[in-house]
Symmetry: C2
Subunit: 200 residues, 2 copies
């Protein structure tokens, strides 16, 4: 198991309804040292790409994206989920449906911050059905920019999001892919992946 799989095994809690709670280290309380390990690992996996910008989506993607951005030395743009009165000017808009919140959101990025020809790495904490990710990809394409890679912390491999994105030819790297989980026993099974190289 890699560092993230170990942490999920140790501190993740499986709940009924295919919910994996990782709020003690990933998406409510955030372990910054763990995020640094992710940054190092994403840099290793995408080291041959020339990334200009990292794109993520509020809220829980932002922390990981900012720490990962330190390794690539690039700015982060986070997509907003609701129209803000502070966001004027022209905007890219994509409609996405959240698996967690069971509602539809507009994903919004100001046209000022994504330009044609820019090489974008998309970073997010979770991938399940992939609707939010599809919205981000749609926005990058609308801008005429290029998705050079997608880095996800935890992918639910038993839901279709990851397969769809890989079928479409995108380079998707998920640090932990969950094949199965059982709320009754708490057991989590990960998909076999190449070993991560990282410092402790």
């Amino acid at each position: 198991m890699n560092f993230l799989e170990e942490r999920i095994q140790k501190d993740g809690v499986v709940k009924e309804g295919n919910v994996l709670k990782v709020d003690s280290f990933l998406n409510h309380q955030m372990d910054i040292a763990l995020f640094e390990q992710m940054g190092e690992e994403f840099l290793r996996r995408f080291q041959n790409e020339k990334i200009d910008k990292i794109l993520t989506i509020e809220a829980s993607g932002i922390g990981i994206a900012c720490i990962v951005a330190r390794y690539f030395r690039v700015p982060v743009v986070f997509a907003k989920k609701a129209k803000s009165v502070n966001l004027d000017g022209e905007m890219y808009v994509a409609e996405v449906e959240s698996f967690t919140h069971k509602n539809k959101n507009q994903v919004i990025v100001s046209k000022k911050f994504l330009s044609a020809g820019e090489h974008v790495l998309i970073i997010d904490d979770f991938l399940a059905n992939g609707c939010a990710l599809q919205g981000l990809i749609s926005i990058v394409k609308e801008a005429g920019a290029i998705v050079d890679g997608i880095g996800i912390a935890i992918e639910k491999g038993f839901q279709p999001g990851g397969r769809i994105i890989r079928n479409l030819g995108y380079r998707l790297e998920s640090l932990a892919i969950i094949e199965a989980m059982d709320a009754a026993t708490g057991q989590i099974t990960f998909r076999e992946q190449p070993v991560c190289v990282h410092r402790d």
Copy 2:
């Protein structure tokens, strides 16, 4: 002028209705190198405090808080603004009104991630009327934890939030305090502050 005041002067845009747009480097696109300067400066200002945890609020506080947390070597907890189906168990809840969005939100932190006696540094990107900040302080107090300091990137000094918090005896450090701004001329006047020590 310090590094942040210079950046606001250069890239901030004053709009009608006391709106300062800093979305090119602070709260939509995020300049991580700038956030690192903030982290260094907050560490200098709060170096005599023993901080256990950084508390912020979604969404635009998260990026700064995560980078600042690297300097303090502590975890970050971000308060959520809406009840999430993934957030079960007992929660601290405070009601706050957003100046920007003109609506009321519940600010929510899981009781698992704030404990009695913990020393908390609150970090956020903006302070205007201070309603969100008041909600965060209320939650820390409810937890029996201690607010050792509050670090803000940009304070609107002509709105009451900062004065109220200082009157209440909290140690509030804002890296840039705007005394006045003029949408017609674009002029921004900063409150005089001690010079920041930082590397370029």
